[in-house]
């Protein structure tokens, strides 16, 4: 077992351990913090597929995170007032079942990722960064100016969605759901990285000309990876809305995109558990610095700056003392 694998296992067990100990100590707030880490890490795992494996610097992943959140919010609000979402051509009713909401959230963010990716991937480098950013802002402004689902005020979700056989309002049971999904996504992402598709994607990042030479077009490979990446981040958004029982345009805001990038980079780009370490550190700092000063984002920004300038491999890179992947 390599040092990084051990570190990954320790991170996940640590997160699980924190939640279990907090439950035993009757500290539901800490369980909720751990849940938040799991969900944000899941969003980062999604972005890491595009960013770490594919080398696509998407500054628009808030779009998928927010769309996932709105999928939960909109379906729940229709379930509450018994008004179908759509009657023609097919009847679509609201729901509070996670098992229905998740596929809807993933499909919605997947379709958005397909459209945004198809256009954005015509460009590269700085253009790609700015265009993904601009498309996410487009959806943000749309959400703000669309009054039907709360507009600027957002949408409250009165009941947390249900999962068969579990009580999702119990913090530890909701944590279990989020943690299980995080582990599944990590497993999927590790398998993806080792698959032939993952190799092609890595090839597109490292040397486009060689990938073309072996007969694979980079555009299609990147687009598929971008869609998968968007879908996972969308799923995280659906969970995040359920966690807060609230969804608002701020989930779509470009600060959110920046934060998801921060999780990935703080942890280590392209590292499997980088997003877990990054999200964990972020929440830890937010919680502790936030208790010290109301202006905690300034020291946080300073710390971030130092990591970028002096520790390019992120936390995992620093701890595992390995080189950055690729």
């Amino acid at each position: 077992m390599s040092r990084e694998t051990a570190l990954n296992a320790a991170l996940l067990l640590g997160l699980l351990g924190v939640a279990l100990v907090a439950m035993a100590a009757a500290e539901p707030f800490i369980v909720t913090l751990a849940t938040k880490v799991a969900i944000l890490a899941l969003a980062g795992v999604g972005l890491n597929i595009a960013l770490g494996l594919g080398g696509m610097v998407s500054f628009g992943h808030a779009a998928f995170f927010g769309l996932g959140g709105y999928a939960t919010g909109v379906l729940a609000s229709h379930a509450l007032n018994y008004e179908p979402l759509m009657e023609t051509p097919i009847l679509i009713e609201g729901t509070t079942q996670m098992l229905v909401i998740w596929p809807v959230a993933m499909a919605l963010s997947g379709v958005a990722a397909l459209a945004i990716g198809a256009l954005s991937l015509r460009t590269s480098g700085i253009f790609f960064i700015m265009i993904t950013l601009a498309f996410a802002q487009m959806i943000y402004y749309f959400a703000i100016s669309w009054p039907a689902y709360g507009g600027e005020d957002g949408l409250s979700i009165y009941v947390r969605s249900e999962f068969p056989g579990l009580d999702t309002l119990d913090p530890i049971q909701f944590f279990a759901i989020c943690f299980a999904l995080l582990c599944l996504a990590l497993l999927f992402s590790a398998m993806l990285a080792r698959s032939r598709f993952g190799l092609a994607l890595s090839g597109a990042r490292q040397n486009e000309a060689r990938l073309r030479a072996v007969g694979i077009g980079p555009y299609g490979v990147r687009l598929i990876a971008f869609v998968i990446s968007g879908m996972i981040t969308g799923l995280a958004g659906a969970l995040f809305a359920d966690l807060n029982r609230f969804v608002s345009p701020s989930m779509l805001d470009w600060h959110t995109s920046g934060q998801i990038i921060v999780f990935v980079i703080l942890g280590g780009v392209g590292r499997l558990c980088g997003p877990v370490a990054g999200a964990g550190l972020y929440i830890l700092l937010e919680h502790n610095l936030g208790g010290l000063t109301e202006f905690w984002q300034a020291p946080f920004g300073l710390l971030l700056l130092l990591v970028v300038l002096f520790a390019p491999g992120g936390i995992i890179g620093l701890l595992a003392r390995g080189r950055r992947h690729g």
């Binding site: 460009t123 960064i129 601009a134 802002q137 920004g301």
Partner: protein, 306 residues
């Protein structure tokens, strides 16, 4: 809808466009010359606006405030370039994005700490208060007209600076071959600091001018920054001409879209739905414009290459 109202909206669009040009020019200059993507450019705009509002409130003079905004933004820009940005030129875009994102957090929280969370207000200078009557009997606020004129004057000055002066020659040379002009004895570090401070001063100037129409608050730079990105994506990264045309295109499209779309939808559906749909579509209009431009010209209207 009257013609006068329409012309007023076109002028408003022009005013927005000119302000966007001041923002986009700095961004595109810094990217063109140094290959650096600077998300913290909106923070410099905010610094300019706050400096103007604070000095104008303390001295009672808008003009001193304006001078302070230029000095504060240029100073902040030079400081940031020397301490942080300088280390990022050779890094990839991802590091640049992240480090400048960190700078936004630092700037926003520091300004919030200094001035508090409540917005400041900046009065228009008495000299430019009131309205003027334009040919055709159109009443238009003098201050907004002055913004358009000032923006166009600065734009002309910038074109002359880049095209006709020694500094401009160096900037253009630095854009095409950094090693060569360093070998010719130009102090490249100082040149970069100067270009960065110039871009910052333009952003600060825009912030101060707009501060008298809107409220001055933390986070005010970010929506403008995103619009400026749209402008340079449409115009082509690194092109000042592209920035000017892109900025006016975006300014006019956005303003006219917000004005005309609800009216257009109102012709075919009931008023409340028309307002809602028109407004949502209008807020997306410039992004749709950008997508269209990119479908046909992936490097923007005047872009040479990404």
């Amino acid at each position: 809808m009257s013609l006068i109202l329409l012309i007023e909206q076109v002028l408003n669009g022009l005013q927005l466009g000119v302000m966007l040009f001041l923002m986009a020019a700095g961004l595109t200059l810094v990217f063109g010359v140094m290959g650096l993507i600077n998300l913290a450019h909106g923070s410099l705009y905010m610094v300019g606006a706050f400096a103007c509002a604070a000095v104008a409130a303390a001295t009672g003079s808008f003009w001193l405030g304006l001078a302070a905004s230029l000095a504060a933004a240029a100073g902040a820009g030079a400081l940031v370039e020397i301490t942080v940005i300088r280390r990022l030129y050779r890094r990839d875009h991802l590091d640049q994005v992240l480090a400048t994102f960190a700078l936004i957090l630092i700037f926003s929280e520091s300004v919030r700490w200094l001035f508090g969370s409540f917005p400041l207000y900046l009065d228009t200078p008495p000299l430019l208060a009131g309205a003027v009557t334009l040919p055709g009997g159109i009443e238009y606020p003098l201050y907004r007209l002055a913004i358009i004129v000032a923006g166009l004057v600065v734009a002309t000055g910038l074109f002359l600076l880049i095209g006709r002066t020694r500094l401009g020659v160096r900037i253009r040379a630095g854009e095409s071959d950094r090693e060569m002009i360093a070998a010719l004895g130009v102090d490249i570090d100082r040149l970069y600091t100067a270009v960065f401070a110039l871009g910052a001063a333009l952003a600060g100037f825009a912030g101060a001018m707009v501060g008298a129409i809107q409220s001055v608050q933390v986070g005010m730079g970010e929506p403008v920054l995103i619009l400026a990105f749209v402008v340079i994506v449409i115009g082509g990264v690194g092109s000042i001409k592209g920035a000017l045309i892109g900025a006016i295109l975006v300014g006019v499209t956005d303003t006219l879209g917000r004005f005309l779309l609800p009216i257009a939808f109102g012709a075919v559906m009931e008023p409340s739905a028309a307002t809602a749909i028109g407004a949502s579509l209008a807020s997306m209009l410039i992004y749709i414009l950008m997508a269209l431009v990119l479908v046909f010209r992936p490097t923007g209207l005047f872009g040479a290459g990404a």
